[in-house]
Point group: C2
Chain length 465, copies 2
Amino acid sequence: MKSIIVNKNIVELEYAVRGRIPQRAAVLKKEGKQIIPCNIGNPQALGQKPITFYRDILSLLENPKLILRERKIGELKSISNYALDLADDLLTQMETGLGAYTESKGFSFIRESVAKYIDKRDGIDSSQPNLQSNPDNIFLTDGASEGAKAVLELLITNNKDGIMIPIPQYPLYSATIRRCGGAQVNYYPDEDDDWSLNIENLEDSINAAISDGINVKAIVVINPANPTGAILNDDSIKQVIDFAGKHDLAIIADEVYQENLYGGIFTSFAKAIGDRKIPLFSLHSVSKGFYGECGQRGGYLEVRNPPDVENSELSFIELLFKVSSVNLCSNTIGQALVYLMVNPPDQNSDEFSSFNSEKKQILDELFEKATIIRNSFKEMDGMECFGKIGALYLFPRINHLASGKTDFDYCMSLLEETGLCVVNGSGFGQKSDTHHLRIAFLPSKALLQNVLPKWIDFHNKYVNQ
Amino acid sequence: MKSIIVNKNIVELEYAVRGRIPQRAAVLKKEGKQIIPCNIGNPQALGQKPITFYRDILSLLENPKLILRERKIGELKSISNYALDLADDLLTQMETGLGAYTESKGFSFIRESVAKYIDKRDGIDSSQPNLQSNPDNIFLTDGASEGAKAVLELLITNNKDGIMIPIPQYPLYSATIRRCGGAQVNYYPDEDDDWSLNIENLEDSINAAISDGINVKAIVVINPANPTGAILNDDSIKQVIDFAGKHDLAIIADEVYQENLYGGIFTSFAKAIGDRKIPLFSLHSVSKGFYGECGQRGGYLEVRNPPDVENSELSFIELLFKVSSVNLCSNTIGQALVYLMVNPPDQNSDEFSSFNSEKKQILDELFEKATIIRNSFKEMDGMECFGKIGALYLFPRINHLASGKTDFDYCMSLLEETGLCVVNGSGFGQKSDTHHLRIAFLPSKALLQNVLPKWIDFHNKYVNQ
């Protein structure tokens, strides 16, 4: 076949989290070098144990005969009665088990459960029906990415449709905007003020876009943030909402790290918006938090105040439904995990205390590891790190880089010398003339104790060469 | 927010398999009517049992502690030693279990396993290295749809890039071509000759497209076919390959029904192409065959002879890799099911005979049910059905419809009167002035014995009204 021209949007999109540095790491690993993969928030790849309760349920859903067997074997039983009853109940509600396509949006009882969880999280009860979450506007998805992609694909009609994204950002957004042929409009959280947002910065950004003829349609906010790990304060959230209201923008709130908080408080955009009629798309996932079930690909998209659509007889929700129909449905194990994520074991159950102690141990350890890494920055010349610790990442600024060197060079050399695989700040976007890296704080403490001294050594030599 | 303009490609795409008729069925079901969902190939929704061996393995992968427990409980054991050993082995090869993101293309040992399966299926051994499947060109995907979408998205650059699709076709293809903004180029298998293909029809179709200024890049073939259920004979396959070679087209071979054969023989495009350098994208899935694990979303895309790319430094495979990277990875349970699909139990194992008897029972029953339905067409005035029976579908032609009535009207009335939910032929495309419907032959024999007489009654009244 003669050579062909392919979709230039795909040619041009970039995705550093799985880009050249991790690809080099894969080669080194094959050659026998020990690699510590901190390029991605993938906890179980670095030894985090799955929550026992979740896996008990999932195994019973895959293999219902084990429920009865477990009930029969008496003292040898290793699954709680609570889990056995729940698995039974879930199978009844699913009707067709895990092996059939579900409704396009996902099992309706799970979507109802998600809506209840959101209301409970945000302190909304039946006395405020207009603020309650609507299960019909919830879509269960293969991880959170799929929901973000569906919304962006629907919003973007041409290269003058703009989406505001924070810089730095998780490259899913820049990549998807590029893939859909839209315009990326950068805004800049204030690093030195713990990555807070303020309306002046947002105004500067949209005004520049408008003067370029861009029709800005939505603003993406990631909270807790990826890659910075920062947690937005309530004032920042309010400023985004006011800004979106003023400029008629939808808000895409990536809230997948809402349980990864170490010192900050999470406020959802759903709660903060209240009864203002601003379109909101919020995303959550089973991949992060203390669950860390990345490979099982579960997530949800919740829509509030869907915008009216001018060029279709179908509503925005019906159009999203059509997209999800072509995909048939998200995977059923991921859907079941979403159910478990929004339904922790009952306080009075025989499952509660072990579940909670596993949860606490994972979150405590994550915080401890983040602190150990952050403290080691103090021994690195010109390494500074801002913001409360959230998500699974630290995003330190490398203030002293020899001229001509980039953070990409730094990270590649760090990988070659220590086996530590992190991602260069430029892979997420950053203010010009700044240099950063993102590290996922997931390696075991033993591994950190081994590698951090090497990193400190490497750093001080590298920046002072 | 003011009303907005959304992506017209999504506004315009259609997907009848989950369109107005099944949506009406959902409403009727809520109202208490018994619905028989034959609109979609979803075997377990209609009572087909999952293969025990698969579910044993999946439950052990989700919950590895059960392996040891099972080995300990002696007579109470309900999982074979073969399955226990295999689960152990798979967990070792996975290293990080089901909960971590895998490589973007999927676990490499599973991709290697798929390559071996393809070679064995096609009778290729190490004496023909140029014909062997390459694991680096295999992508594990969430069902087969995802692979088809990735290829089409990469091939289509604008509305003059054409993709040839059979009429009738599975609407994933028309919907995705529309979504990517490309041009759909129809070709017409010969219904009265058992839906065979011939080069004259293909030439007519491409010539018409070329004279419209369309740059045709690929031809989609579905074998066994969806919606017709027909199995392509070797001559048809050869004609497609010659045609693709002559016109410099890639072939997209949707072969997800390759184990659903009742009287015909399956030849893969990979085998038929041999050493000709024609780009081939073949798709397979765990959703169909005798496995029917639709909800668990496993599949693969195999690429052969990837085309050279003019406008990128990256190769076609590297570009597909980039797309899969943004998705992070397909779900791990789906990946594990692909492994199981391509590795049936060893002939000498304690699992072999029960596995095979389950497999045989499912396939025998499908054939029997297809035959029962097809025979009932003989009692319906002017109902004709062509082709060897394959896939999960029959696609009879309704020759006598009262003037002014469409097959959509027919199917909607059939649903209202009998609860039987099928899809109108126009949902898949069909030759003008013909009328069809697609029925998935999945309901139990008891259900069929109940509903078929009602259908026959309905039909003869409806077409003679």
